[in-house]
């Protein structure tokens, strides 16, 4: 019989399985080929990516991206993180392609601020779209360096050599060859790249475009995968932090004596942070429950029904997103005008892994293992909170258990670092589900008003659009409209302080979900008013051939038969554009008139996302978007009152479940002539509208507010 305290040792060490110390790293890169990249030029030539406020762009100094070792193994170093989107697999695919090495000889180090080049974060579906070309260039540079070395060694011109499976081979006498390892052994070769390479035509790719097995698969099915909360430095204690009952409530008095009386409990305080520490999480929970605290109540008087008026009156003035012609001129030509307002609620990110971090301080250096999408910005925040230079802080990112934008906020990591400093031992902060629902940076509520019209021939005449709260992403219309104006007031990243009663932030395709819901609902209303089939109406009003092609692909897959809505069939369509990807969705729903319950039975989603790096991965991301999207569509909304968040766990906040699953069909259009676009977000943006439009088609009632809860559907039917 083994006693439980004999068992206590963690089998494969306490740290993240692949943690490499700075010293190991320097030893690794002391020999071999190292490729550094200066990024300035890359970004200059690119479509500017709008960076959220407070986030820096890519730095302009040189960063190491790739290393080819004497053993022939290639290490790629990336500041991106793996949160389920598959970057750990797709980024090495790009390197394998350029460098002509088997994918199995590539290692990847991700999201470690001591080892990887600076990166702004993993969001916006940019991993492949923006970062891919940089990594490919580094790999192409490595290949050309190896060709050069081989030419010197084999004494043949570079033109007669080619790279093949980790070797440089002579084109006509394949016996004349040398491995990458032989070329780099015993030397240190450093290459610097300052301009983007002319990259191979995608058509010749062999690894990109194929579905390769996920690198993290084995770890994830065996329980070996370590997330931040699974990392336990020796002597680490769990911290449970005293939290206010409401946003805006302030601590007036606290009595921790009962908690402190429990064995093994320590109470620490750092400014506004009061925490109980214990080696075991459940005992820390029990101790926290014994802390008596008094608060002065929150001054907030808003709730989830009054918020919309508040946003309308308090949002910042409008920015013009896009404008052409003159809306009044268009209105004068209109035969029909529809004016409507759409509402969307606060929605939680609710990753299954709550925000977690473990901080350990050794010789003044702070190491924080964090579930974060933004390790480098987080390093600066932790350094700032502790008043340390950034080099004194290292953020290591193990596997992240879902992010969706919510883990761009790293409050828990700052808490862990502050508490580790006052406690003098490593501290683990793993938020409870209630803390997660309280401190989440919610998707902001939104109010969108649209006034638009059509002429006698069902052509759009004008479009006057104002979005409040959601932000401008996806707010531009996608149709041929002579007179239009799109205005945005505030957004998830640009607000007057105090506009929202709690934190808000980017949520999977930030802003675009609310905007697509309003736009595509409104287009459907206009089509119905004109008595025209909604697909035909869209095709007649689109000028973008690529979008039309995607819509037609969806219609073919769906087997769409034209009929004006409401047809009673319960079918709907919606279009969207996000992260460079074009999306057309179609859905079929059943609506229970008595209860107001909506069941989505089928979703077809067609996407044109440029070159496909990992087709199965792309399909899986689209399925994930559709499934997750059902939540904001049908049930998900944060209820709150006077600063209190009323939803604290999954018993009241409804996530999509297995029984909700529609039949999902994803069609990916082949566009090898276009660069790879984002795939982690686009398919979610159309979900609100496609379901709202299908509900209208089923029962003839228009629901203008998300989520379409049974109560709202019944109200629309009444």
């Amino acid at each position: 019989m083994i006693r439980h305290d004999d068992f206590m040792e963690v089998p494969d060490g306490w740290g993240f399985a692949t943690i490499i110390t700075r010293r190991d790293f320097l030893a690794l890169t002391a020999t071999g080929l190292v490729v550094m990249v200066a990024l300035e030029r890359f970004l200059a030539g690119q479509e500017p990516v709008r960076l959220p406020q407070g986030r820096q762009g890519y730095p302009t100094d040189l960063n190491a991206y790739l290393h080819v070792g004497a053993d022939g193994r290639v290490t790629c170093l990336v500041g991106k993180i793996e949160m389920g989107q598959g970057a750990m697999t797709s980024l090495p695919q790009l390197v394998a392609e350029e460098l002509e090495v088997p994918i199995t000889s590539i290692d990847i180090v991700m999201g470690d601020t001591d080892l990887c080049p600076w990166d702004m974060g993993t969001f916006g579906s940019l991993s492949i779209r923006q970062f891919g070309p940089i990594l490919r260039t580094a790999a192409a540079e490595a290949r050309s360096a190896l060709l050069q070395l081989a030419s010197e060694k084999l004494k043949v011109p570079v033109a007669e050599l080619r790279a093949d499976s980790g070797r440089i081979v002579h084109a006509t006498s394949p016996r004349t060859r040398v491995t990458y390892g032989e070329l780099t052994t015993g030397k240190r070769i450093e290459r610097q790249v300052t301009t983007p390479a002319t990259l191979d035509a995608v058509a010749s790719f062999t690894v990109v475009g194929r579905s390769v097995p996920r690198r993290d698969a084995l770890d994830k099915v065996t329980g070996k995968a370590r997330f931040a909360g699974d990392i336990v430095p020796p002597g680490a204690l769990h911290a449970r932090i005293l939290r206010p009952p409401a946003h805006g409530a302030t601590l007036s008095s606290v009595d921790t004596s009962a908690a402190e009386a429990r064995p093994g409990v320590r109470v620490v305080r750092d400014g506004d942070l009061v925490a109980v520490l214990h080696a075991h999480r459940d005992e820390a929970d029990a101790a926290l429950a014994l802390v008596k605290a008094q608060y002065t109540p929150s001054a907030s008087t808003l709730d989830d029904t009054t918020i919309f008026d508040h946003l309308v009156t308090h949002a910042p003035p409008a920015d013009v997103v896009r404008e052409a012609g003159n809306v009044a001129d268009g209105a004068a030509r209109a035969a029909q005008v529809i004016d409507a307002t759409y509402f969307n609620s606060y929605v939680a990110h609710a990753p299954m892994e709550t925000h977690s971090a473990v901080a350990a301080i050794e010789h003044g250096k702070v190491t924080v293992w964090a579930s974060t999408q933004t390790p480098f910005p987080l390093r600066s925040q932790v350094a700032q909170a502790l008043m340390l230079p950034p080099e004194q802080v290292r953020v290591v990112t193990p596997y992240v258990g879902g992010g969706f934008g919510g883990k761009s906020a790293g409050r828990q990591a700052i808490e862990a670092a502050r508490l580790a400093r006052v406690a003098g031992v490593p501290v683990r902060v793993v938020w409870s589900r209630e803390e997660e629902f309280f401190f989440d940076t919610f998707r902001p509520a939104a109010v969108i008003t649209i006034r638009a019209g059509i002429d006698a021939g069902a052509k759009l005449t004008h479009w006057d659009y104002t979005v409040i709260g959601a932000g401008e992403r996806g707010s531009e219309h996608i149709y041929a409209i002579p007179h239009h104006r799109t205005l945005a007031r505030g957004g998830w990243n640009a607000n007057s302080p105090g506009l929202h009663p709690f934190g808000i932030g980017p949520w999977r395709a930030p802003g675009a979900n609310s905007n697509a819901f309003a736009r595509e609902s409104h287009i459907d209303r206009l089509a119905a008013r004109a008595g025209v089939d909604p697909v035909a109406f869209r095709l007649a009003n689109l000028s973008d051939a690529r979008m039309a092609r995607v819509l037609q692909a969806a219609a073919t897959q769906f087997g769409w038969t034209p009929k004006p809505a409401p047809s009673g069939r319960g079918v709907g369509v919606a279009l969207g554009m996000d992260a460079g990807t074009y999306v057309a969705s179609m859905a079929e729903v059943k609506v229970d008139r008595a209860t107001g319950r909506v069941q989505v039975t089928r979703v077809v989603c067609a996407q044109d996302m440029g070159v496909l790096v990992n087709p199965d991965g792309a399909r899986q991301q689209a399925e994930g978007c559709i499934t997750m999207g059902l939540g904001y569509c049908l049930t998900e909304e944060i209820r709150f009152r006077n600063g209190q968040v009323l939803d604290g766990n999954f018993d009241t906040y409804g996530l999509p479940r297995f029984s909700w699953l529609p039949k999902i069909e994803v069609v990916i259009l082949d566009s090898p002539d276009l660069p790879a676009q984002g795939g982690g977000e686009p398919a979610i943006v159309t979900m609100g509208a496609v379901v709202a439009n299908a509900v209208f088609d089923a029962v003839g009632a228009r629901v203008g507010q998300l989520p379409m809860t049974p109560a709202r559907v019944k109200a629309a039917l009444a």
């Binding site: 698969a217 075991h280 978007c625 297995f658």
Partner: protein, 158 residues
């Protein structure tokens, strides 16, 4: 404090902790078996699912004394002699995960189902898995993986 004996992944073990403590945190904090995940702490997500005598049990909702004398299996104990269980294989080959945080609970939840019903219908799988949450939306692939594993196991794999 009363010692509690049970079998853990085939190894007999005796706890030296307060028997009222949560099984989830004994597994994670005391024993270092971090494959069992914390998701909600209130028995509403399924991330902490383990097997107790082949039944799916939410470790956050039971105490050490509740598992006295039972056979407890966590995700770390499912592969035998370095060989993945057919469910684990099917989750790999069908991509039944994205971030992978819900995966241990999903696999063990499915294990309990297949133990009772080796040939479940798709609807039975859905209703059995209904209380397991996955935020990434890996649901379709999870169902496919469970179906494939059921078929492989009926084929005599294990």
């Amino acid at each position: 404090m009363r010692p509690v004996s049970f079998s853990l992944n085939g190894v007999p073990i005796r706890t030296v902790a307060d028997e009222r403590r949560s099984l989830l945190w004994i597994l994670r904090d005391d024993l270092g078996l971090t494959g069992t995940k914390f998701g909600c702490g209130e028995s509403v997500c399924g991330a902490c699912t383990v097997l107790v005598n082949d039944e799916a049990v939410r470790a956050c909702a039971v105490s050490a004394s509740d598992v006295e004398g039972t056979r407890v299996v966590t995700i770390e104990g499912l592969a035998r002699n370095g060989e993945l269980h057919p469910l684990q294989e099917a989750f790999v080959s069908h991509l039944g995960f994205q971030c992978g945080y819900c995966t241990p609970g999903m696999i063990l939840g499915a294990y309990a189902l297949l133990k009772k019903r080796p040939a479940p219908s798709r609807d039975e799988i859905v209703s059995h898995m209904e209380a397991h949450l996955c935020r990434c939306g890996a649901h379709v692939r999870i169902l496919d993986a469970i179906e494939a594993a059921a078929a492989a196991m009926r084929g005599g794999l294990r």
